[in-house]
């Protein structure tokens, strides 16, 4: 899952990449990787395509899943939620993963990979454990 997210971020660099990892409701286990289109196709902004989002959200409903992880990349700045990220965060139960490709757009460059909760404008970083 880690590799899939990083690969997506590298592939879309210098535009921001975004997507989710769905998991069974209540499990907190991210299990189904769903890369999304960045409708903005921008190096400084992302937005899920509204039509694709409706389809993916409905699919999760049907499978009794939630977006456990919502990820996006920053391509020129650190992997930390920007003010825009915080003000637009709309899933209080999700883990917001940020990947920065500013130093490692291509293999085998380094990437930052960090995870946060964003609730009511408050950002809390959490540890990331990569499970093989």
């Amino acid at each position: 899952m880690y590799d899939a997210i990083v690969a997506h971020a590298r592939r879309d660099h210098p535009d921001e990449a975004c997507g989710i990892v769905a998991g069974a409701a209540g499990s907190e286990l991210p299990s189904r990787f769903v890369p999304m289109v960045n409708a903005e196709r921008s190096p400084t902004f992302f937005r899920f395509d509204p039509t694709e989002q409706l389809r993916v959200w409905r699919e999760m409903d049907d499978r009794d899943e939630v977006p456990v992880v919502i990820y996006h990349s920053h391509t020129a700045t650190e992997a930390y939620p920007s003010r825009t990220d915080v003000s637009l965060a709309s899933e209080p139960d999700a883990h917001y993963v940020l990947v920065s490709t500013r130093d490692g757009a291509h293999e085998p460059g380094p990437v930052e990979f960090r995870s946060f909760r964003i609730v009511d404008g408050e950002v809390t970083e959490e540890e990331v454990e990569v499970v093989p």
């Binding site: 992302f46 509204p50 409706l54 996006h72 020129a76 825009t84 990220d85 637009l88 709309s90 209080p92």
Partner: protein
């Protein structure tokens, strides 16, 4: 019959936790007004001035209302309105 409005998690504080509420009206604007009557404050989260908020996606029968006239999108009994906060951000 009514127009069924699906409420996202983040707005369920306005609906006592309900996932769907019933509205009525011939346009999306009317439907939003009708749910505001019972769930005060929700309209403010959907509408800014005379327009839908930029980072709220609204669909009538799975069609993005931005292609249906926005708040003037026609609605009729039996329709389903889905509200989904946009997932967006920027560096």
């Amino acid at each position: 019959m009514a127009v069924e409005v699906r409420i996202p998690t983040i707005l369920r504080s306005y609906t006592d936790g309900a996932k769907t509420v019933d509205g009525k009206g011939d346009t999306l604007a009317d439907v939003i007004d009708s749910i505001e009557a019972n769930h005060q404050g929700i309209k403010e989260r959907l509408v800014d001035g005379g327009d839908l908020r930029r980072f709220v996606n609204v669909y009538v029968n799975d069609e993005d209302v931005r292609f249906l006239g926005g708040l003037q999108a026609p609605t009729t009994d039996g329709d389903t309105v889905v509200v989904l906060p946009a997932v967006a951000g920027g560096a």
